[in-house]
Symmetry: C2
């Protein structure tokens, strides 16, 4: 017990020091190429053991923020100058559009979802980044603990143990939910689908960040909803003034935002924006479906808050899942629907009765045993390093005038190419070369983002991947694609 | 191998003989109280071993069709005279109704779904009738065979092994589906939900058997659909003339029938009716959602066909699941959507991406290994015996003028009490006595079936259950409930 507590404390110490140094690197206090204090020095400065100091530097090395040079020590590796410039705030037309996507866009959607598709085009992590063996341990444990009860219908709200774990987890974003606030669903998309069915009717308008995750456009289409795309900053997310404008004009019936590490832009609303957005929506009594599926995949030192954190009126329907971090195929998601709980329960019961207990119990076990946090810590480091590799490769190999988002979490990178490049044409060419990406045009209902593309960096970084990215850059640079 | 084939043949022989004798009992060739041929006689007559003969008689004993009397031999036990009379064909108004159920009916719906509710009120089998231990064997097997792939999104259509098994299974009803005809869903209700979302729009009218399974009324309500209730015969199902009439008048946009062992009436459309219905619907190009969830729980000698069997135009969307026979809590269902496959796929993908592979793989294993057929054989016998117990108890203890359905499969019994009895009032009184049932009024959108109730006989028959039924009969007989 004592040993364990001591280990946990050391664990915490190395992360705290790594976070501090990371912040100094990112804000420029420590400059690229600058030599870092020696292990002996930081041991003395922070009053820590040599092992703790080595762990801190090792973490920063994994994230590609520093490098060790033989016989010389540790040096800052990360440089903002080596990154592509940031794209501008998006500027969609302030008109709601029917979500009837044209056939070509539709065809691209469908092909992205197909099995065996090229992984750069997808929006979820590669299997190799998921803790399959440990998840199987939880499966064995869950099967034992459920005994025969997995064959029975569970109550509509979902597995109690899982709901408790989600509630516990919500403390990290200071939302302080209790298990009775939560309903489990068949993945996050299913949660959003029930939310939309519960609070909108055909012909209603939903405001979303632009570019918009294409799954949301598909869902809006089958539900007969209009989409109002809002201007969005690649770093701070939806433009609060544009939101206020739309609310004042009575243009929207509900909002659907990915508040943390949006897809495809990677933006993260700062706390102050989240607070303002919730305040505005409360003033106009407009509900917000908050898709927080990426919230746990942050690259900073702690989890970002959610809009739900500031929700006093119960207008925020907070949705999440483990589909992007742990087990896409388990289809375990959830929603904390605020004051719409009865409606959400009704949707779930009327459309499907209940969900599979078994997979929920496995995830509950994975959370209870601390395996999830351990896995996430590793996943975040890997993704942050990948993002760095992608960004520097793009800066080096993509044509001049290319800009790219700088997501502070999540899996996807938004790349804006010179205006004359049509990424729908590029898409066809790349398919022949077996390199995939998601063309920008499929993330909007308007005629825009034709020179943009989304890349998945939730893959295993290797030479093949590096070559693919370089080749993609060369194709863009050399081929006349106007 | 040889041993196994021989065993299978003997297996078949005893069932064939039991079926023959059962038919003779049910059609009156063998009369109640009549002595059956001795074991030695049937061994000689059929050219079988003594063990096979004993197995045949044992099967009939389990089904309560015959009884053995010490030192005297076997006698016919079953008597139609001991059964309640059959209810009349239902006679709902030929007008479509909005599915906005009134609040009292809604409250009863909700209470039926609650955990810990009284089992007689439910429409699915008790856990004690489900093969939990054997299912856990399949779980272990499935987890091994999936290895890491359970964490990945599977293709939209669903688990390939499961779809193959369902296709194989469909040969029993001569529908000859292939795995590519099938899409798996999160239970049967979810399949029906996608079907309705794919082929109807708000305000459309769906024709259903009356009384109507209340889950269908709930679903119609949230989708904004009208329901036209069709007259239904408690034995042969939906009235074909009434269906033709509605089609001729252009009253309906789609049909939703439980062709085999409907809920709550227990009717089964004869082959000829199924064929006629499909022909009519084809003439008018009106699709049929066929809920065949109970098709495998037949009491006759073989599986009834489905409307899908006769579907050449691809207008039948055949839905099923293992929720009523094997594992309600696994949420494994499916649909063979005929020519609407692309739309169904789209619905599933847009609303939930895919389903959990794991639970599907468990069910696939259960089917592959023959465990399902073995389990069903036992379940059918148990249910048939239960039905007999219920029917004779009702004939004895319920007031004069009571009639009851004679389902040839499924789990539920429809009881029609004397007209002056209001089963909504009775429901309240019975709750106090901790005896449940589903009042008739919740199975319709019209003011009818007020003197009817539905009982679940998918329970374990014992003294407690017998006493409850008797007590229910006494309550009805003695209490003034007008």
């Amino acid at each position: 017990m004592h040993m364990k507590a001591k280990a946990a404390k050391a664990d915490f110490a190395y992360l705290r020091i790594a976070d501090t140094i990371e912040e100094q690197i990112l804000n420029g206090t420590l400059e690229p190429g600058q030599k870092l204090p020696s292990i002996r020095t930081i041991c003395r400065e922070y009053g820590i053991s040599q092992n703790t100091a080595l762990s801190a530097y090792h973490t920063l090395e994994i994230k590609l923020l520093i490098e060790s040079r033989p016989q010389s020590g540790y040096f800052v590796r990360f440089s903002k100058r080596r990154l592509p410039s940031l794209p501008a705030v998006t500027n969609p037309a302030a008109i709601a559009h029917d979500a009837d996507n044209d056939r070509i866009v539709q065809a691209v959607y469908e092909s992205l979802g197909e099995e065996g598709h090229l992984p750069l085009a997808l929006g979820f992590p590669a299997n190799g980044l998921l803790p399959v063996a440990k998840l199987n341990k939880s499966l064995a444990q869950a099967a034992r603990s459920l005994n025969g009860s997995a064959v029975s219908y569970e109550k509509t709200e979902g597995n109690e143990r899982l709901r408790q774990q989600i509630a516990r987890w919500s403390f990290a974003m200071e939302a302080n939910l209790s298990s009775s606030d939560i309903i489990t669903t068949n993945g996050c998309l299913n949660a959003i689908s029930y939310c939309l069915m519960a609070i909108t009717k055909k012909g209603d308008t939903v405001a979303m960040e632009s570019p918009v995750s294409f799954g949301m456009l598909q869902l809006a289409e089958v539900l007969g909803l209009k989409v109002l795309e809002l201007p969005t900053d690649p770093q701070t997310g939806v433009d609060i003034n544009a939101l206020e404008d739309a609310l004042r004009k009575g243009q929207i019936n509900c909002c659907l935002f990915i508040s943390n590490f949006s897809n495809p832009l990677g933006s993260c609303m700062p706390d102050e924006h989240k607070k303002q957005a919730v305040q505005l929506l409360t003033n106009y009594s407009i509900p917000l479906i908050e898709n927080d599926i990426n919230g746990d995949v942050y690259f900073g030192s702690k989890r970002a808050k959610s809009c739900k954190t500031y929700d006093e009126a119960g207008l925020v329907l907070w949705c999440g899942s483990v589909s992007k971090t742990l087990a896409p195929g388990y289809r375990v998601g959830w929603v904390a629907p605020g004051k719409f709980k009865a409606e959400l329960n009704r949707m779930k019961r009327y459309h499907t009765i209940s969900n599979a207990s078994l997979t929920q119990a496995v995830i509950a076990d994975f959370l209870e045993t601390g395996r999830y946090e351990k896995h996430l810590r590793k996943l975040r480091q890997t993704l942050q390093a990948n993002l760095h590799q992608y960004s520097t490769t793009i800066a080096e190999y993509f044509p001049e005038g290319t800009s790219a988002s700088r997501p502070q979490g999540g899996f996807v990178l938004w790349v804006v190419l010179p205006e004359e490049i049509d990424t729908m044409l590029l898409y066809e060419k790349c398919l022949q070369a077996k390199i995939g990406f998601a063309p920008g045009r499929i993330f909007t209902l308007q005629n825009q983002y034709n020179n943009c593309l989304r890349l998945n960096y939730g893959l295993i970084w290797n030479d093949k991947l590096k070559n693919d990215l370089q080749y993609l850059g060369e194709l863009i640079s050399n081929v006349n694609l106007i």
